[in-house]
Amino acid sequence: MAGVRRGERGVRVGGVLLSLWRAAAVFRVVTAVVCVYLVVRWRHLYAEPAAAFGAAAALLATTGALAALAWTGRAHRLGVVAGDVVVTATLTLITRIAQHPQQFHGDMPTLTSIWAAGPAIEAGLLLGGASGGIVAGLLQFAASAIVRDGYDGRTLGNGFLLVVVGGISGYLASITVRAEHERAMAAAERGRLRERELLTRSIHDGVLQILGLVHRQGRDDHGVWGALAREAGEQEAALRALITSTSHDAPTGARNITAELAALRSSRVTVSTPDAAVVLPAAGADALMAAVRAALHNIDQHAGPDARAWVLLESSDDQLMITVRDDGVGIPEGRLEIARSEGRLGVSASICGRIEDLGGSVRVASAIGQGTEVEMLVPLRARIGGDDQTLG
């Protein structure tokens, strides 16, 4: 019964319900023109032409008033619809006076003919659900039955159609209005979510600011406050990484390398990426991220306690390059080759192996005291081991 709830009787209606009322008004106007045309055309045939013309004039007046009310959304009232039911039934009954008995018992339609379907439609709109329209349809059917002194097949058929029209219009009105209501609710919900997102963002920003401030003001203290300040710095980096990684969404089945790299940020690791999401199929993304993590792990293990790391993502149409650089102690010349020849894996398997499986190549540059730079180059058209999809 959303229709009733939404369009409180006695109040102006809007939205879908207003459109339906206007459609009903158009129906009344068009059918009124048809009825009046028939009265004028058959003016010489009536027993009482004055009664027929009077009824036609009343019919036009009723239609005009109703259309004006419906168009401005003010016809959605019990008084208006009940009045219309009574007027329409009365005009239908005048057929008894205007027509000769052989006419109203025979083939000539009543004065109101199809125009008389209006109240059933309106009652449907007013009450919502099938019942209102059916009741109004039955009343109108009763009026036609009185005109004909009972009913025959044709009266019954018309009456049945009236009831069906009333029922359908009520049912359609209620589901349309409910759909409109639900759509409005969904829009409001989206608005609330959006607002919440903005709020979350601003709260996050506030927390980041405070953590950053604590870190900044207390970092030079050598006691408890200094430790607290450094902890605040760690937390700030972790929160920033979390925010960045959740703000880029990749389609299902694909993975967003830009966001996954951003999640590696910490107080010691700086991650720099282009603005655009670089999206890879899952298998390729896994291998690539594992290689990057291995490179960062190496820095943790070997570059020294104060070493910082920088990760850079660059991508073009046909290739993708990730560079992991640190400013640590560096690797002595030849040490990597020695490790490999001795069967110790380290860099060669965890980084080179994975990247070479992707059809790419790895370049390691290092010098004592100047840190290490690992450059991973992956072609985007290459096949990933076992996977038929291409990277990118």
Binding site: R201, D205, R240, S272, P274, D275, R308, D317
Partner: protein, 218 residues
């Protein structure tokens, strides 16, 4: 409008940040380092309103502002005074905003987690006309040139500019880059500034073309 050099007079700074505590801390640091903090405001509208009277050399701009965004504020300040030097100073992961502000005319970017001395140095360098680049900004600019390269009339980086931006993006300082490439510190700075200048010029041309295509006139 003439700009005082580093030493001749105190550098005039405007702080735009919606966080009062943070604003206060930054103001203290800058004042004790000898800067003249001429305005300290909490929103973009106030910044635009006060800029003409306060005549800052450098605007320290938080990108996350309440109503008028940091990007809009930057664009408006640069429109009013093309010589103004906006240094973005921001904390959360807002890459798209950083890039947009750089294209709108900001001269550099600094993360808020930077130490006070770093910030002071960055403001001084910005006042001197240098571009303050974080690795993040360098990667964004590189990505933007890459993205534009498929379009018509796209600006291009020279090989040297690309090389230098990549080194910045990998975390090397201007001094380390100068050593590695055996060029002067000044040369490195010029190359970095050029990459931003070309991007801003292209952005203005694009905006003008966009306006003309839609029949927008002053």
């Amino acid at each position: 409008m003439t700009r005082p050099s580093d030493d001749a007079a105190a550098i005039r700074v405007m702080i735009v940040d919606d966080h009062p505590i943070w604003r206060g801390a930054v103001e203290r640091d800058l004042t004790s380092a000898g800067f003249d903090v001429v305005a300290s405001v909490g929103d973009g509208e106030s910044a635009v309103r006060l800029a003409a009277a306060a005549r800052p050399d450098v605007v320290l701009m938080d990108l996350q502002l309440p109503s008028m965004s940091g990007v809009q504020t930057t664009a408006e300040l640069v429109r009013l005074d093309p010589a103004i030097r906006v240094l973005m100073f921001s904390s959360s992961g807002e890459d798209a905003d950083v890039l947009a502000a750089a294209k709108a005319g900001a001269r550099g970017y600094l993360v808020k987690s930077a130490a006070a001395e770093e910030m002071v140095a960055a403001v001084r360098r910005t006042a001197a006309g240098e571009a303050v680049f974080s690795p993040g900004l360098a990667a964004l600019v590189l990505g933007e040139y890459q993205r534009m390269s498929s379009g018509p009339a796209a600006p291009e980086l020279t090989d040297r500019e690309t090389e230098i931006l990549r080194l910045v993006a990998k975390g090397l300082t201007a001094r380390q880059i100068a050593e590695r490439l055996v060029v002067s510190h000044r040369t490195v700075q010029n190359h970095v500034q050029n990459t931003l200048r070309k991007l801003q010029l292209h952005n203005r041309v694009e905006l003008t073309r966009w306006a003309i295509e839609r029949g927008v006139t002053e």
